[in-house]
Amino acid sequence: MNQRTYGENETVDFVIVGSGAAGGVLAKELCTAGFDVVVLEQGPWQQANQFTHDELAVERKNEMLNTGFEPFQSFRTTATEPMQRNPGRGMMYRRGVGGSSVHFTANYWRFRPIDFKERSVLGPISGTGFADWPVTYDELEPYYTKVDWEVGVSGAPGPSDPFRTRPYPLPPLPNKSSGVLLERAARTLGLHAQVAPMAILSQPYDGRSACMGCGHCYAYGCEFGAKSSTLSSVIPKAVSTGRCEIRADSTAFRVEMSSAGRTTGVAYWNKDGKEHRQLARAVILAANGAETTRLLLMSASPAFPHGLANASGLVGCNIMFNGGSSTTGRFEHPTNEYKGHVVSRIILDFYESDPKRGFYGGGGIDARFNNGPIGFAVNGLPEDLPSWGSEFKRALRDYYTHSVRFAAHMTTIPVASNRVTLDPEHRDHWGRPALCLTYQDHADDMNAKRWFRDRTQELMEAAGASRVWNQPVLPIDSGVHLLGTARMGNDPRDSVVDRYHRAHDVRNLFICDGSSFVTSGRGQPTMTIQALAYRAAEHIARFARSHEI
């Protein structure tokens, strides 16, 4: 793509680290507001026509993900244990322009008013970082609406949705068999299945193609540009202003500081491992909850001995992944879930935490079956069926086109000891310390997963499945939602950034991505990441214009 380029010694207004859900929005908003912006993206700049349906490359080799590029991460459940190789897949995100908005499923649930004030409504949870947000739903609503209309979201209001100031810009995507079955189950149990809001175009929109139903949303890039990634929505607009350079294959490793305690730019490696430095008047980190943490910790200096912007000691702490549990069922007739978008209906009746359950936790349930042929054959069948031989082969055929999964997505509680740190022993491809995750599920989170698994089982039975089987409820060692590691707050003692995403400790450093979250929401964070990014961009532009940076 032709774009304006900036010299490294040219001091731009903003350098943004990361081009994903948040970075893409921030770039587009700030350059549209008249500022010069350079975006540093560690991965390549793939175009839509370079995306494939190759399951071996995408889902097993993880060629688009950090874990395909840098396989080693360490893990321990508590800080007193030795670090070991992560037994799971680790903290995952997509490397490349558009970040994880390219390969995600595109569920676009808004948070509800309760998400922002749950601590006040429910009271404290002992030993945790459970807290209110410094923003409210009312404050964020205009930005949720902006996301709907700017990136393109398809949907229709549900019975207990929070208020919205504008309707969805696009009608719902077609209902799938999984959605029809979830509706059937909900009716039987007195619940409500509603249209799933999806960041996928149900009709042509804003010069982009509608969804062609290829069936490769989950984990893949959309070759039609119908998935509303920042790659296909806002980044082309940012570049077309002539005030934004997307510098791909550029891995940031240090936020540079002046002796006066201000950032002066970002040091990075280019594709060949050569060191470069981009000067800027202000720096915005939007690299996701894991990489924003690594960059801040790697930017430690005598003035910031525990990592940049880490006077609170909370950088990397309180990581939240969102819990999950699920039940699968086989149905008499074909469901053919491998066609089309992933999710068409959701149940949000259990969104709020209910003290009567005896634990904190709430969530939503969707209907899907997003196993590719390899993944399905390797471990998609019920465990009591043969795993090889003629019966196995018959079962593959009987189940692949006839199965549906009801998947629950839910809260995780912020706990300071659940954190991302730097592994002192292992280095990555570039020589950066490997990511280490210390994580132990809060007892309530395990209870929530089990409780929701019982609900998905009831729903699957109510849907009339001829065979029902649960996926095991497991503790977390890996995840794709990387939330809470540089949390927002009004008090510098218990948060990393303020309500406008400015680092408490560094006046011209902003942090805006999943790391900003105070609580986890119910499992679909990207819509809120982008609403925060639109809001942050507006305030950051205001500060810049009034020389308050």
Partner: protein, 198 residues
């Protein structure tokens, strides 16, 4: 395998994949014929690069027990063994390559208990199954099984899933795009809800 042979096989494969499912399901004998061509290719042991001819025979027997050939093409017709041969020479599978080589030798060694001189492949199906049941819990079995499944169901560009026969085995239609209704239940469901404003 020469480039010509490869392109011939791929030509046959692509021809099969371009057909619609409805047509395919009516033409199973034709698919079998196509699979037969692939089988002939797969039998050319000299074409193997990373498996010795002995290992290839053993792997083929193992793969044929994982996804047997019956009225529907199995792992052999899908070219899973050729896929595995190629895969073992790639960085992604390098870590398990020694395990696979050792495990195949172990299968042949275990065949000795049945007084077989031709290794695992020379055993009867019942004998092969008996050995495989004994090692089901071992890492070699899991990794070799996974390789067979990848070779059967991966994108054909990797050398297996010839003629997209793996996807046909699952009953999966093979198109780049689909339009609703996708399945039986949404087909019965009728009209979609209309767009409504808040």
């Amino acid at each position: 395998m020469s480039a010509d042979q490869l392109s011939r096989r791929r030509f046959l494969a692509e021809s099969g994949g371009a057909a619609s499912l409805a047509w395919l399901t009516l033409q199973l004998p034709w698919i079998s014929a196509l699979a037969g061509c692939a089988r002939e290719d797969a039998r050319r042991d000299a074409d193997f690069v990373h498996l010795t001819p002995t290992e290839a025979r053993t792997m083929r027997a193992f793969a044929a027990q994982i996804l047997p050939s019956d009225d529907v093409a199995g792992a052999i017709e899908a070219g899973a063994v050729h896929f595995i041969d190629r895969a073992l020479g790639t960085p992604f599978f390098a870590e398990i390559a020694p395990l696979i080589h050792a495990g195949l030798a172990e299968l042949d060694f275990r065949a000795g208990a049945f007084d077989a001189t031709g290794g695992f492949a020379s055993l009867s199906g019942v004998q092969q199954v008996a050995i495989m049941k004994r090692i089901e819990g071992e890492r070699f079995f899991a990794e070799a099984r996974t390789l067979v499944l990848i070779g059967t169901f991966a994108d054909p560009s990797h050398g297996g899933n010839i003629g997209r026969s793996g996807w046909a085995m699952l009953g999966k239609e093979d198109h780049e795009m689909y339009t609703a209704p996708f399945g039986w239940y949404d087909g019965q469901h009728g009209a979609e809800p209309t767009h409504s404003a808040a």
